[in-house]
Amino acid sequence: MTDLAASSRAVSGQKVRKLQTWHWTELFFIAPYMVFYIALLVYPLGLGFVMSFQYFDLFAGQAEFIGLENYQQLFSDRIFQGAVVNTFKFVIFTVPAFVIVGLLIALALNRQTWWAATLRTLFFASNVLSVTIVTLIWRAVYLPEKGLLANFLGNFGVGNLAILQDPNWALQAIAVTTIWWGIGLPMVLFLASLQQIPADIYEAAKLDNASPWQTLWHITVPSIWRTVVLVTIIQIIAQFQVFGQINLMTQGGPNNSTRSMVQFIYEAGFRQWTAGFASAAAQVLFVIMVLAAGLQFWASRRKQEF
């Protein structure tokens, strides 16, 4: 994500001999973008904030100021509470898996052979598919009786498997789908990072008779630690906003066990037509995201102190 400190330094720091004058027409360079930025990003952000204090019917258009009522209802809403918990759970299920599995694949495939290249291609391929295709694929995998999983486990005598209908396992099943979909990115980032470790360090370790485990733990991991942090933060931010998989695979069920915060916002706004209420939920999510972005900023500053 953003590295605010570094980039602002980049903008202001260059004090070389600059072109002395600028003409006001040159503002037209940034004008097109600024129009879209303000009209379609900044303004809606403010509007959403205002809407969160209103009763706003999505289609009748009338808006009524109701103060904090949306927020009061939100925080006492059992379903919303469940959605927050589910979202945190989902992040916990997916992010460590992304890091660990991504790293392991990168370690295994960090070589110049043709088969390693083929497998790298394979693992990244799912990344280019849209969420609707991915969910079609995995619904076909998870279908009760007819699905791949049901057929496979049926050979081992496990019958009646309906994993998306089981409130104890549905979220994990969606997590597996998500990891299948997105493992390509962590893998590629780890590969790039591994390839930046100079070969001589490994040579030196070999000469010292270090075991593979020692090599991994004392050389590889510290060298790629920055990437581990980067992947973690990227995935936390992405998975907090999970929507498509839930919307298409379980719609938040069964028994509110998979409803994510964005799914909640979508339902409240576009299915139940209570757009003010949905805006309030969106503000809460936004605050969480800002905290996460702040965390990334803080973490990236810290890594510069290495």
Binding site: A10, L19, Y33, A108, V131, G184, P212
Partner: protein, 279 residues
């Protein structure tokens, strides 16, 4: 680059073997849906295990040609994605150059404000955006699908950093010829930024092609559906819709363009996505 070891230690062999097995498992879902797409839907209802046995049929794909609106969805997605990509690259280059070179007062402040926009997730603005386009009566248009994508700061950030890194001496030389700022930009600087433009273009193309949430609520008329929305709509009743086999054929068909593009342009796609993430 990892060193080439003379003998492969046990741990590493286990790791590699596990990853190879994992890769096979990774592929199985894709094979599965191809298998399902080759079976008649009726047969799939009656016999859950029928995928493993003959007969197979191409009827689902034949039906796709007649019934499916894949063509319309594909056309809409192409229009939106190509237009958005072109516009994002153009606007980001302009803005990037402006922030890099034009030293108007308050530039740093404005730039930081733009960067802060990176922290705004799509969902924080989707409800108010929907209201705005409602008021302008602009839903179910290509403009509605394209325009919101132009407000993201990522492209600007990327191009600004890139332009900043281009030594200013190159432009100073041109300035001596009394060229306008825009001419310098157009003829001197921009050609140097092609790699970054390619990265931005690919990244934007991919994310526009796969966008789901905004088209879902904005393109509500069937002939405006994009590929993602169309596929999602036909999925909602997977139990009672045209049939499982047909749906799988649709998924296979819809996923092919991107997969083919990816296989041919793999290096660029990977570089774009990874480069974007690192920023």
């Amino acid at each position: 680059m990892a060193t080439r070891k003379m003998s492969k230690p046990m741990g590493e062999q286990i790791l590699v073997a596990s990853v190879v097995i994992l890769a096979i498992a990774w592929m199985v879902p894709l094979v599965w849906i191809v298998g399902l797409s080759l079976k008649s839907s009726l047969e799939l209802v009656v016999d859950p295990n029928s995928v493993f046995s003959f007969p197979y049929t191409l009827k689902n794909y034949a039906d796709l040609m007649v019934t499916s609106n894949l063509g319309i969805w594909l056309r809409n997605t192409l229009i939106v994605t190509i237009t958005q990509t072109v516009l994002v690259v153009a606007i980001s280059c302009l803005a990037g150059y402006g922030f890099a070179r034009v030293e108007f007062p308050g530039r740093n402040v404005v730039f930081i404000l733009v960067l802060m926009g990176l922290a705004i997730p799509q969902h924080a603005v989707i409800v108010p955006l929907h209201k705005m386009f409602n008021d302008w009566q602009m839903h179910n248009t290509f403009q509605a699908l394209i325009l919101p994508g132009l407000s993201g700061p990522f492209g600007v950030f990327l191009m600004t950093a890139y332009f900043r890194a281009i030594p200013i001496e190159i432009e100073e030389a041109a300035k001596l010829d009394n060229a306008s700022r825009f001419r310098i930009f157009w003829e001197v600087t921009l050609p140097l930024a092609v790699p970054a433009m390619a990265t931005l273009g690919i990244f934007t193309f991919l994310s526009a092609w796969n966008d789901y949430l905004w088209p879902l609520i904005s393109a509500t008329r069937p002939d405006m559906y994009t590929l993602t929305v169309g596929l999602a709509a036909t999925q909602t009743n997977i139990d009672q819709s045209e049939g499982l086999g047909y749906l799988m054929a649709q998924a296979v068909f819809a996923g092919l363009p991107m997969l083919i593009l990816y296989i041919f342009f793999q290096k660029y796609v990977v570089r774009a996505v990874a480069g974007a993430a690192i920023r």
